[in-house]
Amino acid sequence: MNVYPYLVAVFLLVIGAFGIARSHNLIHAVGCLSVAQAGTYVLLLAVGYQHGAGAPVFGSPASTPTRNVSDPFVQAMALTDVVVSATVTALLLALSVQIGKRHGTVDPDELSALQG
């Protein structure tokens, strides 16, 4: 059980990529890409977790800072990552919309403009 969270993270990365490979719709593929990215959040946060520790926030003025908290750096990375993913997803969706407009389809099997 000590590696279950890590295995789930790997699973998310690969299943998301699988979703893109089998996708019939580019918008669906972009959705799958965000599943793959969720794998990286889970991996990061699992790496930073510590049994019995608290969140790295010393909420009230009374609470004294202690080192018995989970790793804040992985949380900062995951936070950065969440924002990056949202904006890049927006960009990719914008491109999908334009593909739909220009090709009349968003099925990658029917797009044949870039062969050879």
């Binding site: 993270a9 790997v10 990365l13 990529a17 893109i20 490979a21 089998r22 996708s23 580019l26 593929a29 972009v30 890409l33 793959a36 990215q37 794998g39 990286t40 991996l43 990061l44 790496v47 750096f73 992985v74 990375m77 950065t80 990552d81 990056v84 904006t87 890049v88 960009l91 990719l92 491109l95 999908s96 334009q98 593909i99 220009r102 090709h103 990658p108 099997d109 797009l111 044949s112 403009a113 870039l114 062969q115 050879g116």
Partner: protein
């Protein structure tokens, strides 16, 4: 504390921030001010950054310039901050990026009027991403700037939204690069869990001499994957042809000239600083050589089979990426120096050719050498620039491409790989020959009219959308100056005395992982010894002339095919693998994802299997 010049230590952060600040101004006010002002402001920003970085490069040649952001300097070898480290290679790549952005902005003076302001802002953000990626000494920070390069690059690729191929190429590029980045980030997480820090010097210090266990192999392969996707190493290279073929010409200049080499820079930087003292060199060298040769061959064959001129150039970039990887993959100072010179020379030549491709598109409304046969016969200057670019791509001395090729060949032969000159001559002759063939058809009307026997399932480029509003009647000076400047720059790399010496010296710093680590963590930097080396040797000049002559011969044979008495069956058998190779490049993003995982598998097998024994 390291004794560094505080003035130079501030430059890396400034060089990242200035383009971002100016981009903010352009986003806010770009649509309200006249276009010439937008052009001038953006160009001035790029030139300012170029000046700063040139000063940084000069300063870094006396030792690395180290700065910890917000002054979180290491205490007892540990820091919580981010370190920026400028060594000659990092600063040099950043200079290249700024110079190419400046020339690309000059070229686009009359360009893409519908996105004025936003286009310039994206170019400057792209520049900030490249400079940050080149100068940072922190693995997660590398990832951040990698994504910044990505986000601006996807948008720049798909900029011509009326063009169906442009948006498709941009999406393929975006999906594959993002997925690669996520694989990289997983690797970053693995390394972080092991070491507890992500600055390259601290990773290096913690891992030096460590046994190469499964976690480190997985971390190395995963981190490298994202960078090698950007670096277009086969089989991660598929997105490149799609993106380059459709992006506006000045954007292609940045992609081929510096973004793709930056991918390789990232992979090699991480390898040298973090892993060089973990993995035995033999295994890593084999991995780089195998994938590099594969990339070079695939690129060369695909390049020669194209009729879409920008796609032809894109595959030629893939072929040259293969050569860079083969040279740098020797894992020696001389091999790295060869790759550096080759990258610099190639950047000038390839950027000039992409801009020439842009001129062709704007003038004749297409880039299909078959459709445009003989259309350019009235042009006077442009055809000769094409010829110069093609022959320089083939490695004619004294162009920088020729020098990089010569130095790489000698480094390879010296290391006992006798096949190096054969590969380099063949690949550069084929790619140069392809450019000369296209030039011969379009601008000189050579050969038989190809339209009669053209067959049409491949990407032709006859429906490409022009980048300007009206077809050009004559080529304006703002387009001509960057083209000539780039070719002269490529020439300068090979002509300036001391180019080889400087490259070897820069490579020395790049490979010196112990020195990098010690200096970044606080000890005084030491200056490496400089050995004067001649630029050209007789053998190098000879091989350069040979590949240039071969390129001309290949172009001639392609234009006037000799009537060979070969049975139809033989031709079919010979063509089958080439057709299969073309089929693999399908433009289907699902295929590219599948190939990416095959690539990860190949890379891990090449690295891990020999280590098991």
């Amino acid at each position: 504390m390291p004794t560094f010049d505080h003035g130079a230590a501030d430059i890396p952060a400034l060089a990242i921030t200035i383009p971002i600040l100016v981009a903010c101004l352009l986003v806010a006010f770009g649509r309200r001010i006249p276009r010439p002002v937008v052009d001038s402001v953006a160009l001035a920003a790029a030139l300012t950054v170029l000046g700063l970085l040139a000063a940084l490069l000069a300063s870094s040649s006396h030792g690395r310039v180290v700065s910890w952001t917000a002054r979180w300097v290491p205490e007892h070898g540990y820091s919580v901050g981010i370190v920026l480290v400028a060594d000659p290679v990092g600063a040099g790549v950043a200079v290249l990026a700024a110079a190419l952005v400046a020339l690309a902005l000059l070229y686009s003076w009359h360009y893409l009027s519908s996105v004025s302001g936003h286009f310039h802002a994206l170019m400057l953000l792209f520049l900030a991403g490249m400079v940050g990626f080149a100068l940072t000494g922190d693995l997660f920070n590398m990832f951040v700037f990698f994504e910044l390069m990505g986000a601006s690059a996807y948008a720049l690729t798909g900029m011509k939204i009326e063009d169906p191929t442009a948006v498709q190429g941009a999406l393929n590029f975006g999906i594959i690069n993002s997925l690669g980045a996520y694989v990289s980030l997983s690797g970053v997480a693995l390394l972080y869990a092991r070491v507890g820090n992500l600055s390259l010097p601290q990773l290096s210090a913690a891992l030096a001499g460590h046994r190469p266990d499964a976690l480190l192999i997985a971390g190395f392969v995963a981190v490298s994957t994202g960078f090698l996707v950007k670096g277009a190493l086969a089989p991660f290279h598929f997105w490149l042809a799609d993106a380059h073929a459709v992006a506006p010409a000045p954007v292609c200049v940045l992609f081929s000239g510096v973004m793709v080499p930056l991918g390789l820079y990232g992979a090699l930087r991480v390898y040298w600083i973090v892993f060089a003292r973990v993995f035995p060199h033999g295994e890593i060298r084999r991995a780089f050589l195998v994938l590099g040769v594969l990339t070079a061959l695939v690129g060369a064959v695909m390049c020669f089979g194209q009729r879409h001129f920008k796609r032809l150039l894109a595959y030629s970039t893939i072929a040259h990426v293969g050569l860079f990887v083969v040279a740098a993959g020797l894992l020696s100072a001389s091999g790295t120096a060869g790759a550096l010179l080759y990258i610099a020379g190639h950047a000038g030549v390839k950027a000039a050719l992409f801009l020439l491709g842009g001129v062709m598109l704007d003038r004749y409304g297409g880039v299909d050498e078959v459709e445009l046969w003989g259309r350019g016969r009235d042009a006077r200057v442009i055809p000769w620039l094409f010829v110069a670019g093609g022959i320089a791509l083939a490695g004619l001395p004294p162009f920088g491409t020729g020098l990089g090729k010569a130095v790489s060949e000698e480094a390879g032969s010296h290391a006992g790989y006798g096949w190096f000159p054969v590969l380099f001559v063949a690949v550069s002759a084929i790619t140069g020959g392809a450019v000369l063939r296209a030039t011969g058809r379009v601008y000189f009307g050579l050969g038989a009219d190809p339209r009669s026997r053209a067959h049409g399932s491949e990407t032709s480029g006859s429906h490409e959308r022009s980048d300007v509003d009206q077809p050009l009647r004559r080529v304006p000076l703002t387009m001509l100056v960057p083209i000539v400047g780039l070719l002269l720059g490529a020439l300068a790399v090979g002509v300036l005395p001391g180019a080889h010496t400087a490259a070897e010296y820069a490579a020395g710093y790049f490979l010196d992982s112990g020195g990098y680590t010690a200096q970044a963590l606080g000890s005084a930097g030491h200056v490496l010894h400089q050995t004067p080396l001649p630029n050209w040797t007789g053998l190098g000049v000879g091989l350069g002339l040979l590949s240039a002559a071969l390129a001309l011969a290949i172009a001639a044979v392609a234009l006037y095919p000799p009537k060979l008495r070969v049975g139809e069956r033989t031709t079919r058998v010979a063509r089958a693998p080439i057709i299969a190779l073309h089929r693999i490049h399908s433009g289907h993003v699902g295929d590219y994802v599948a190939w990416m995982f095959v690539g990860i598998a190949a890379l891990s097998a090449l690295v891990a299997l020999p280590l098991q024994r």
